[in-house]
Symmetry: C2
Subunit: 349 residues, 2 copies
DNA sequence: GTGAAAGCGCTAACAT
DNA sequence: ATGTTAGCGCTTTCAC
């Protein structure tokens, strides 16, 4: 309420009967200080509810204890879980995070990045809006250490933490192939994203190895509504696959919604592997087999990498590829031979 | 890479051949400046890629352009959507947000709040860990304007933005009652939360008005796993309700998962109203009727309220109660009369 | 081991 | 309308 002024360091100094420099030394703990003085200072600080002014500290000392995190969207659970993981990792070391959403837009990303840099953060963790990452120049020019998370082009020279997209997708496909599926469709958000393309590749490779037909790839957009719309009528009874791999959490939802609209029941008529395993996928009936990304490890790894850079580590750039885990549930099932097959007699009985 | 030093205001001043104060005036735009000079200054700033140092600006000017946002958890979509909404609202006005998670823990909340305050933010938006909000004293003492979002005790003297919990829950119950349901269970996360208690009240009131039995209330915890565990075997065939209202998004998932485990099929055997409408609820089969909270309006309203306080508005404290919208889908269905009823003949025909 | 003094980058008085 | 000056709260030499 009352626009009370916070106690300053010299307030504390006065109360403890020492100089401001000593207070700084006590609180920062970098220089040896007389234990008695230290006690007096701490008590004075506590009595005044003293809280260091981080901005002033940074201004003078140069170190900032704040990390900028920028993601394509804050409305996507995947990105927010990443943020949660990062916050968990940073928080214990006295860092705070500034977050911003690029709204899936290159230009916005640039604006937000600029704004962030004006806080002179100790480092930045970014999930770029696209894998070209045009706005990299801002970061490089600023000299602020940064780590690129998740969406990554092949030739990006930077510290990178991502998943092994091809492998994850391959495992999903192999799981389906193992169940006897020979006609797999891949539903992708946008092929402009390198990670999505890599996932496609993984499925393709698995199909090739198994000598089944190449997967059909559908590109349906980034939002649930877009996906639902594009999928309208895609699953005509004639050209219906026996299994679908959805490459994104939003896409997974869209595919799920599209099935009943096309008169398909899952898993009887079709199997589905989703991407980004979240709680709701375990709650539905049937529950959904999905590729679980190691979100927590990604956040932790990104922070560890960034922390080292902040500490001045100058080793060659890191390119981490974490593995995913395929969580098998009820939405994938072994194919039952179609009735119009050789042994059709069975269906008449 | 290169730990390049950012250009300072006096670098710009030098290049433009003016004083630092003039640069400040041009860039801040608060004082009249000669147009020609302004152009020169802006060009010099652009050439040097000048970005104001926000910390220094705050230190001198006292205004900070940063808002702290603290929520009980960053792993809960409801809170992260709130953050997304807040970011959208703030961002256009040049503010940034620092976010922190209280990890559903009073003590952590205190720590995080303290850390935030040391950035001297212009304001704080907080979803308290519990409705007592013990840590309020920190905020009051600091003098930083703040708005309390969502979880609110009855007697909290502060600016408050919340939903009309009782009304929302009442509407959910009335919807079910209108469909003929006479035995409703309420599955709550924790009755320690005022908003949850208010939701219970809403259902109770609706039942009373309709002269049907009081709803049974189950308290099952805050996380999906806890909910699933507690619900194990709760729906014995004997004492099974005809409809369930879940008061939280996590609880909704838990209930959903519990049905098949108890041999219940939805909506044939039972109807369900969920809380916090998210995309996946529209994607499942059956899709889920749910109370949609006006997340975006909540964020916007909180910011507007906070902005006014920051601007020095001293009007009496605001207590906003936004309305929810019941999104009716397939998980709620009219009760089919039990066959052992008077008109059992009907069911034989 | 402790204090005095300088100065980080900026803005608000004040002087011109 | 512009420049000069002072100082926000802190950390860091550098004396002592």
């Amino acid at each position: 309420m009352s626009s009370r002024k916070p106690a300053t360091m010299s307030d504390v100094a006065k109360r403890a009967g020492v100089s401001a420099a000593t207070v700084s030394n006590v609180l920062a703990g970098k220089k040896p200080v007389d234990p008695d003085l230290a006690v007096r200072v701490r008590r004075a600080a506590a009595e005044l509810d003293y809280q260091i002014d981080r901005a002033a500290s940074r201004l003078r000392g140069g170190k900032s204890k704040v990390i900028g995190v920028i993601v394509p969207s804050l409305d996507n659970t995947f990105f927010t879980s990443l943020i949660a993981a990062i916050e968990r990792a940073l928080q214990s070391e006295g860092y705070d995070i500034i977050v911003a959403s690029a709204k899936d837009d290159d230009a916005v990303e640039r604006t937000r990045l600029t704004a962030m840099l004006s806080w002179r953060p100790a480092g930045i963790i970014i999930v770029p809006t696209d894998d070209v990452f045009n706005n990299r120049d801002l970061l490089d020019f600023s000299g602020v250490p940064y780590v690129v998370l998740d969406r990554v082009g092949t030739d990006l020279a930077a510290d990178i933490v991502a998943i092994d997209n091809a492998k994850a997708a391959r495992e999903a496909a192999e799981h389906l192939i193992g169940l006897g599926h020979g006609d797999i469709w891949v539903v992708a958000s946008s092929l402009k994203l390198a990670n999505i393309r890599q996932r496609c590749e993984g499925v393709r490779a698995a199909c090739q190895d198994a000598r089944i037909g190449a997967p059909k790839i559908l590109e349906v957009g980034m939002t649930f509504d877009a996906v639902a719309e594009r999928l309208e009528g895609q699953f005509a009874a004639s050209g219906r696959p026996s299994a679908v791999i959805a490459l994104t959490n939003f896409v997974t939802m869209g595919v799920l919604a599209a099935f009943p609209k096309n008169g398909i029941s899952m898993p009887a008529d079709i199997s589905l592997v989703g991407f980004d395993d979240y709680a709701w996928m375990a709650a539905t009936t049937p529950s959904i087999t999905a590729v679980r990304q190691p979100v927590n490890s990604m956040g932790t790894a990104a922070w560890e990498c960034l922390r080292n850079r902040i500490a001045g580590e100058t080793s060659p750039q890191v390119r981490l590829q974490l593995s995913c885990h395929l969580k098998i549930r009820q939405s994938t099932r072994a194919v039952t031979r179609p009735v119009d097959h050789n042994d059709a007699a069975k269906s008449v009985g």
